[in-house]
Each structure stands twice: as C-alpha cells, then as structure tokens.
Symmetry: C2
Subunit: 338 residues, 2 copies
Amino acid sequence: MKFFRTFSWFACVVTLGALLALGTQAFAETDPLPSWNDGPSKQAILTFVKETTTEGSPKFVSPAERIAVFDNDGCLWPENPVPFQVAFALDSLKQMAEQKPELRRDPMVRAALVGDFAKLLEGSHHEGLMHILGLTHAGMTTDEFKARVEDWLITARHPRYGKPYDQLTYEPMQEVLSYLRANGFKTFIVSGGGADFMRVWSERVYGIPPEQVVGSAGRTKYELRANGPVLIKTMDYLFVDDKKGKPVGIHQFIGRRPIACFGNSDGDKAMLEYTTIQNPRPSLGVIIHHTDGEREYAYDAKTKSTGKLVKALEEAAQRGWTVVDMKNDWKVIFPFDK
Amino acid sequence: MKFFRTFSWFACVVTLGALLALGTQAFAETDPLPSWNDGPSKQAILTFVKETTTEGSPKFVSPAERIAVFDNDGCLWPENPVPFQVAFALDSLKQMAEQKPELRRDPMVRAALVGDFAKLLEGSHHEGLMHILGLTHAGMTTDEFKARVEDWLITARHPRYGKPYDQLTYEPMQEVLSYLRANGFKTFIVSGGGADFMRVWSERVYGIPPEQVVGSAGRTKYELRANGPVLIKTMDYLFVDDKKGKPVGIHQFIGRRPIACFGNSDGDKAMLEYTTIQNPRPSLGVIIHHTDGEREYAYDAKTKSTGKLVKALEEAAQRGWTVVDMKNDWKVIFPFDK
C-alpha cells in the first residue's frame, strides 16, 4: 500500500509534468492568426511581432513604445455601401424629420433623405454633408448622443448582410488586435470617423478603450446644470482626423510615433509615412486592399476622382508596406463566416 | 544522515513557509502613503481606493473605469515663483535673443526679458504672454521643441531650491500616483500646461506615458520632408486645457468621466465638478491646499484679483471634496526631504 501510494504520487507528478510540457508546446504552436492564409502578408506581421518583442533581438522595442494604430472604416470593418457613420446620420435624420417635419424645408435635409449624395458632397468643403453632420452630431449633450448611437446599433441592419453594424468587424483584424495586445502592444484606432461615435462601442467590439480612440471631433462646451455637469456637442474648432490630419491626431492624442500602422486608403497614407519613414525604431506598415467582390466589396484599386491607382497602393512596394489581398489572404471576412 | 537530510528538508520548507507568511503580512501592512500624516485626508484616499477596488463592495468599480486625473502645476509639482513652463519660455527667449538680437526690438520680448509680467498679462486674452508663447513654442518641429525642453531640464535650476525643475515633484503625490496604479487605476495628467512640454518628461518623472497627458496645445502641421516626416508646432486652433476646458479636454482625450480628481485651484474646479457631481460611480475629489510657507509656498487661500477665498476651496465642504493641508498632512514635500 505504501509503495502504491508513493508510486501513484510519483506517477501523478510525472503525468502532470508531461501535461504541462505538452501544454506549453501546444500553446507555443497555436496559430495566433488562424483566419489568415499562409503567405507574405501573414508572415510579415508574425515576423515583425516576433522581432520587436524578443529580448536580445536587434529589433527589440520596449513595451512602452509598442504603439499600433488602426484606421477603422475599411480596415477594421467595411465602409460600404456608405461609411457606417453616414448610415447612422441618415437614420438619425429620418427620425428627426419625423419628430420635426419643418426640417424638410431644408434643401440639404431633403437631399439627404432621398439619398442625393452628389448634392451633399458639392463644394470644396462638402458644405451639405457638414450641415447634415451638424444637425445629427451637435446641439445635444454627449450622453444624449451616446444613447442615440447605442439605440441605432440595436435597431439598424446592414442592407447587404442583414446584421447589426457592430457584428460586421473583420475577423482577421480582430485576431491582429488580440495578437498585438498579447505581445504588449497598445492598440489605438486613428480614424476619420467621429471619436464620440466610435467610443460608444469600441471597447465592447474591439477591446479598444475610449482613451485609445483618436477620431474627428468638434469641441464640446461644458455646463454645470441643476441635474449635474454636461458637455454639449458642437461643430466648433472641428478637427478632421483624416489624411495629413492623422499624424497630427496621433501626435496630439498619443504623443509618440507608432511602430505599426494598418490602413486601407489614401486617407491613411500620411500616417503610414509617419509610422514607417525614418522612424528610429523598427516599423510595420500594412494596407488592407479590398479585392473581394464576392464576400465583401472590391473598390479600392482606383480612386473615384482620377481613375488612377490609389497612391498608397502605388507607393507600397517602394515604402516597404505590406499589401493584404483580402480575397487571397483572408480565410473568412466576418466572425459569422467561421 | 538520511534522517538528518529529511529533517533539514522539512525544516527548510517550514522556514520558507513561515517567511512567506510573514512577508505577505508585512506587505499587507506596508503603508502605501508613508509621506502622509494620519488624518482625514490620508484616510479619505485610502478608504476610496479600498472601497472601489474590493470585489463585492457596493462601491466596487471595474478596472476599465478607474480613471484618475491630476492637475500638474501646484498639484504634482510647484508653480512658484512662476509656473515652470513660464520659466522655460523665458530662458528660451533669452537664448533666442542672443542668437537673434533683432528680437529685442519687439516690445513684448523686451518686457519678458526684464520680467515685466504686468505688461505681458495686459488685455483680456493676455496677448503679450500668448505672443511670447508663440515665439518659444511654435514655428519649430515637435522634435526640435522636445530637444529644447530636454536641454533646459538639464541646465536650468529652480531659483529657491537650486535643483533641476524635474526633481521638484511632491513626494506625497508620487506616492498617490503609485498607489492608484498598483490598484488598477489609470493615471492621467490634465493640466493647463502644454501637452508637448509635459510629455517630454512625464513618463520618466511620474510614470505617466505621453498618451495619458492632456494639456494645452495648438494644432501641428504635417510635412513629409526629404529626411522624413515632421510635425510643425503652431498656435492655430489653440486649445486651453484650463477651467471649463478641463472637462472638455477629459472628454476629448479620455472619453469617460474620471472617478478620482486631484487639483489645487479654480482652474481645476470644473473638472472636480465633472468628476464628483452626479457621477453614477463613486468618486473622490481632492484639493491640494498650499498652506506651507516654510517648506513650499503659502498662496492659494485667496485669489489675487478679488482677495476672496478661492471658489474651489469655498465649495469644498458642500461638494464633499477633501482638502489636503500641505503643512499638516505632508511629512515631506520633495523626494530629497526624506
């Protein structure tokens, strides 16, 4: 009996040890990007993360400097048939016009309600669109705006996929976000979209907290009311976090140069440059190229206005930016495809 | 021999166990705020942290929402005889005037160089001071500005304490920063000072990374130059992160209401309100009251302009804000006093 007890104790330890060893090995071999097909894009991401996080590697970067920035529309979720925030603005406008029919006297409101985007985009500053954004995104408290966005996410459905918009994130990019964070990177959204719009759901949907969301914004106005302090949304001092505004936003909000940047259009070209050109640290630039007309939308090979190749894609080889071919690099597009 | 080996192994385990137990207990009883005298201020901070971080406590707050904001000048380090950034601006101006003597033709530069602050502060928008800030804080790249601040911190000395300015942080507040972080709080600076100025040293000096520094700032301008991308500092779209601007800055940069706020003047009153009034979560508001003319400066009981009690102090009791009496609550002021 004593021998047996000793033996069983010994066997337990050995078994436990073996299991632990196997577990570690299994863990080490788990693919952090299972929705990505093998190929140069996946390899570029894996190699970069390994090199910058392995102590003693010549490309090692201290955790504090592991800043990764992501565009949102067209990079973490689709931007078709219209950017999702535009869909939100139009739905809001419809709701507002029902409550206040006199709004329909406004020619830009009428244009928006019948989907006449050409009219909204007239003029060098897209005055019509800005007017609609002003109506739907200003003149209310930040809490009221947040409640509207939350309500819209529950009720609205994407016209093609029939799902709530916040279920349409790209599964392969969700994997990249998790993989980077598991390796000590701090992940930020840097998007032309509204900061207040994205922050409502970014933590729940991407695991990115509000304080790591950089976006377009007007300056709010503080008031201490009888029932507590409020911030009123305005369009004043509007900051447009797009194109050359993206490095400006990165400096303003983050205060250091990222070492990894994921974008998908010329709106992201400046932040790709800022991340990768003459950066004293190793860096990674990635462009999500929309090549999959079957599962998603194929639209970004040429710019609408000039018909020429998108500049960011044109310069990608010269700059060393990795171009992700959605059709061939991604096994699935959305989480529900799995 | 065998008995002895067994015994000594047994003794080792027991001793180790006893040491571990003692160590744990010693750790549990270590005072996280050793530079604070016992009293209601210290107790208010300890109680708040315990209540908001103990699972099952009715006041428990999830780690993601544990946002703590700190003013900098007069809260984490002194603001006398002039705010340290003003000292930096004047030293910079002297240096610039040596290199470009024609600058002395400018009447505001002359006023600054002879210390005529009254002239600089004339007018409702302090045009003279803004002009000096423009000369010393704009028209250069962010990297050039950073190098100037770094150089100044090495060479300049505080006129009273004879130390580099970045050695003059308040030891009791450093303890609060560490204590909050050890309890899952994210610590942010929310200061009227320049974001670019503070971010140069905030991580090294306070353990607060640049992306958690909210401050005043003009909008930079992005350029891709032959030797790489740069951001040029301007005074355009200036955001002044002071008074009612502080809740605005908190919303813009952090995107959620803090649950703890430390300030020291009417410049912090709005963010104290925003943190503590009708906050759906438990909250803590603290005012550092400068009562110690011997070891530091006693100056904030009354406002210079009206001679009346500072409003934030006047309202403290009604609002439930904790007032820290530096003279009586703090055992030491600076790290070198220990």
